[in-house]
């Protein structure tokens, strides 16, 4: 619905969640004092493991649950107490929840008929939706006559038909097999962008969140740990939990040894980390240093300098074709992972199990986190 005036470059907030808490049965805190804002036109992902409260938060937005505390605003209007059928929000369910006794056409028209839209207008809207999802010739089929990917598109069309201000996606690709996922993901984002609807999606799959969303909120035990763009969350995690949840990470525990405005030295059991930018802290503070496996370079030769490398023995390697992940045991028995692109076909030069290797990384590839 192009009723919203185009904002002059400044993104306006569409959804505002203020201090929302949901307690089940008086004891179980599913969502704990969550506040967030979603800008107009954004794809916002709630990412977290099972039981982190992301689905409950989505159900609160849809109106299937009422928050114990806090308010929810949509386009400035307080919708906290509105029932689901009065909210300009539609949801695509994980299991699709297509009505089995209705045809594809009737499924898509269902929401429009509830609004008492004139028949001709409904037909027009349904036709355009069918065109959008490229299932025009399937209009008279029943859901059980469609493949999983087709059902998913019908579910999307049904939730978009009413032109909601906000679209909710619950594990949108969760029910598809791996091959179909990539293709569907691209299609899905394409359709969402074409329609230009603001979108909140829930997923446990970090890849799905990274590739689809413009903003990711990492949730854990009912709270949001970090909100940011995919690369911010990946490269600059604000806590050990976030670093460990998103992607693989090697963690070194240590203390700050020297502390300056432009560099920091951190001593850990097996090596010295030299950070080429300042952080907030003080000498002696216990911190953890996080290094992603793909930022580590392996070599059989000793690197120059005394910092940002360690030595160990390859105890296992996992071959992926294009890259290999090496498990390296260090002197203190800690095992780190290093990911190397397989740049050469020369097998003789390759590092193999049992080799003694030097693992090094750049002073810019580190993230220091407070314990």
């Amino acid at each position: 619905m192009a009723t919203e005036p185009k904002p002059n470059k400044v993104k306006t907030d569409l959804l505002r969640v203020e201090g929302v808490t949901k307690i089940f049965d008086g004891v179980i805190k599913a969502v704990d004092d969550v506040s967030l804002t979603v800008a107009q036109g954004e794809i916002f992902a709630l990412l977290g493991g099972s039981g982190c409260g992301k689905s409950t938060l989505l159900r609160l937005l849809a109106g299937f649950e009422v928050p114990t505390k806090g308010r929810i605003f949509l386009a400035g209007q307080d919708i906290t107490d509105l029932p689901p059928y009065q909210r300009p929000i539609n949801m695509m369910f994980q299991s699709y929840a297509l009505f089995p006794h209705l045809t594809v056409w009737q499924n898509i028209a269902f929401g429009l008929q509830r609004d008492h839209m004139p028949k001709a207008q409904i037909a027009e809207r349904v036709e355009s939706m069918l065109k959008l999802i490229q299932l025009t010739s399937f209009a008279q089929r029943k859901p059980h006559q469609l493949s999983g990917g087709q059902q998913q598109r019908v579910a999307l069309a049904r939730s978009l038909a009413k032109q909601p201000k906000l679209l909710l996606l619950d594990e949108p690709l969760g029910a598809l097999d791996k091959k179909l996922r990539e293709k569907t993901q691209v299609e899905l984002v394409g359709i969402i962008e074409e329609v230009g609807v603001t979108c909140v999606l829930v997923t446990h799959d970090q890849e799905e969140a990274m590739t689809m969303a413009s903003t990711i909120a990492v949730m854990h035990e009912g709270t949001i740990l970090q909100t940011g763009t995919p690369d911010e969350v990946y490269e600059r995690p604000n806590s050990r939990q976030v670093a460990e949840f998103i992607g693989d990470v090697n963690i070194f525990e240590g203390q700050i040894e020297t502390y300056a405005a432009d560099h920091v030295r951190i001593r850990s059991e097996v090596c010295v980390h030299y950070l080429m930018h300042g952080i907030s802290g003080h000498v002696g503070l216990s911190v953890v240093v996080a290094v992603r496996p793909e930022k580590i370079v392996l070599s059989k030769k000793r690197p120059a300098g005394e910092v940002n490398w360690c030595v160990g023995e390859v105890v296992a390697l996992v071959y992926f074709g294009d890259h290999t992940i090496y498990h390296i045991q260090l002197a203190n028995a800690q095992v780190i992972k290093a990911q190397q692109m397989n740049r050469t076909t020369d097998l003789a030069e390759a590092i193999t199990s049992g080799d003694r290797v030097y693992a090094s990384w750049s002073g810019l590839a580190l993230v220091v986190l407070v314990q």
């Binding site: 689901p84 006559q145 179909l180």
Partner: protein
Amino acid sequence: MSKIFARTWLIMVYLFLYFPIVTLVIYSFNDSPLVSIWSQASLRWYRALANDRDLIASVVLSFKIALMVGLLSVLFGTLTAFVLSKYKRFYGRTFFFSMATAPLVMPDVIVGLSLLLMLVSLQHWLGFPERGLLTILLGHALLGTAYAAVVVSSRLKEMDVRLDEAAMDLGCKPRQVFRLITFPLIMPSLISAFLLTFTLSFDDVVLASFLSGPGYSTLPMVIFSRARLGLNPSINAVAAVTIAVVSVAVIVSSIYHVRTQRKRDHEIAMRYSDGSQ
């Protein structure tokens, strides 16, 4: 060897089940007034049946009661099933659940007797209700509600709760959700609950004997009482007619079932032959 044994066994079981029924049908065409001696084929007892006012009245009564029992049971059974499957927590749920299904396991004689005692004292104190159609109806509906509740709730439990949520999400008020989504989806179970309770009522002799009053004899009661006075071949004719009606109903419904199943299989096969995702 074991194959021959298995086949013989199967044939014997079928004979045991269906031989008496076949005999009964054959003997309904027997001209002799003695049930067990064959004289010659005739439609004599079918003619007698057509003129048997008592028997016809009992068929009409049984049919009326069964029809109403079916409707009442489906109505109350569906309400019960809804409460049991949608409201997971309320005070006394377990008690309600066991009470709702208790008539399934309670012997009919006990149910009939206790209902009779209740009705007698009610009539004594209030002068109401007179025993007859209404009281039989109440007794059967009591039993039928329990059966219908079980049939409908098993279907309701299978139904995805997300469908209700999806409907609400798309703008349905709760009452519309029932009318547009739940009702069409549980329709098959409502039909089977109706057929089940209809048969249950049509077939019952125990409860009806306790609860009926003078002038209200259902078909099974009439057959039963006549059988005690010595079988009359017209009963064979009644039985043969009943069997014919039931067989036609079963055949029609299974043909319908096979047809829809085939259509569905065909449609599912079609979706793979499209080759599009």
